[in-house]
Amino acid sequence: MTLDVARIRKDFPILERQVRGGQPLIYLDSANTSQKPRQVLDALADFYERHNANIHRATHQLGEEATQAYEGARVTVAGFIGAAEPAEVVFTKNVSEAINLVAYSMGNASAARSGGRFALGPGDEIVITQMEHHSNIVPWQLLCERTGATLRWFRVTPEGRLDTSDIDELITERTKLVALAHQSNVLGTINPVRAIAGRAHAAGALVLVDAAQSVPHMPVDVAALGADFLGFTGHKMCGPTGIGVLWGRRELLEEMPPFLGGGEMIETVWMERSTFAPPPHKFEAGTMPIAEAAALATAIGYLGEVGLPALGEYEHGLVAHALDALREIDGLRILGPAEPVDRGAAISFTVDGVHPHDMSQVLDEHGIAVRAGHHCAWPLHRAMGVQASTRASFYLYNTHEEVDALAGGIREAQRFFGAGGR
């Protein structure tokens, strides 16, 4: 199966837009948030137009339909990532909330002094990496501050790969949890999660995978990865904002204390205390993003019809082309792997004499949407020796012509700022 990009582009109404005075939109910011196909937009409208009701508690037909849509989405997600059962899928707002859920649950276990593998204290360690998004750094810093545990991290090599040379010193019997990105949102680097998970498990540690950048682009199987927890978000994979997923192994979710308290997450409530629903509902307090969950299932169906292997192959071609085109530009430095091996569809770069903010401004003037700054990965930028970068990221609807337009826009920016280049 090959990917027919012309046909796919017809599914995305926004790609017909013109921006900045009549320029066709060239959207190269999908690692930030992806665009949405008509099918997903229709699913949102259909839910609100025909099935809208609250779930689990409305004893009428619409309530049944809404519950069916929401719980059906859970089954779809479970199948999509190879979960053992739908109950292992907890809906969240996004990946940040998914990671915070685990971190705060561990904090609650620590405060309860009940012991067990989720309770942390001085002497315990959490291991992350230097290439994490802030959302997989800050929750662990906060947890360590609350519990007295120590935060440690893998460094990155100058080429933008994970430096695993000190894995034996980093992952020890003191390690309680290893949290790492499957794919870097800045470098595009795909990390050897399976191998690191193996070491973590041998040391008795749990493994949390931030799959925000991988799940939209490649088949991800939680069991094959060796993960204990995995988070991803709908809006980067053709779905709506406001819906994300925390997958966790059933026995872990059962053992973990709740994160947010409220309606629907309880079993019984007295004035003095409460008991809690089994997972996943234990972690879904209050009214959830119901229409968004239904539309996420539609997005998963859409990606399934395109076929993730075909999507991956097509993106690989785009990335190889982009890396070739960018390498030819004088003064341009690609952050991260320069070859399209174990690297995804995000390419960050710097250009001598043109600050990323100025670069993105010139590109925007040509209708090319990219991201400039540190992309919520400030420590990684420091490690790579740069203050900020420009990131172009690709998805199934991008074309080779758009890659060429990017290279042309970069040269235009060099001319505008008198920064040389060919």
Partner: protein, 153 residues
């Protein structure tokens, strides 16, 4: 082309050849401000001296890391505010802030803002307003601190 209305020649000149750049001694107050959106940062020192009209800005020195807009803004600010009384400087600062919040509708007074009128086009780009304001917020903060130091014991 719209790019030229944003990046006026004055801005590009200040970016390529910043005035009064570098950190100098002595100074009354030093601050470091960052733009958490993009990581741009400026370290700014302000030195005040007495005059009949009240405290005067004797020197503004800075170390700025960032885009053309934020760097040029620091350069223009140092030109404009050095030698002014603190109260004049605060008024100019308010005038510049109002221009940045004008969404492209502002009619800047060149007698007050000097080269800083070149930043009028920035107000049409919400994502860039913080770049232009970074140095001005730092100056205001540093000057307020320097004034606080001068309060009679």
């Amino acid at each position: 082309m719209r790019l030229e209305s944003l990046y006026q020649e004055i801005i590009l000149d200040h970016y390529r050849h910043p005035h009064h750049a570098g950190l100098r001694e002595p100074f009354d107050a030093e601050v470091r401000h960052v733009n958490p959106v993009c990581g741009d940062e400026v370290t700014m020192r302000v030195t005040l001296k007495d005059s009949d009209a009240g405290p005067v800005v004797a020197d503004v020195s800075y170390d700025a890391l960032g885009c053309s807009i934020s760097q040029a803004s620091a350069s223009v600010l140092s030109d404009l505010l050095t030698g002014r009384t603190v109260s004049e400087g605060m008024e100019i600062n308010d005038e510049f802030l109002a221009l940045m919040q004008s969404q492209g509708e502002g009619e800047p007074d060149e007698d007050v803002l000097g080269d800083a009128v070149a930043f009028a086009g920035v107000s049409k780009y919400p994502a860039r307003i913080k770049c232009a304001l970074l140095a001005w917020m730092a100056w205001k903060d540093a000057t307020a601190q320097a004034m606080g130091e001068r309060e009679p014991a």
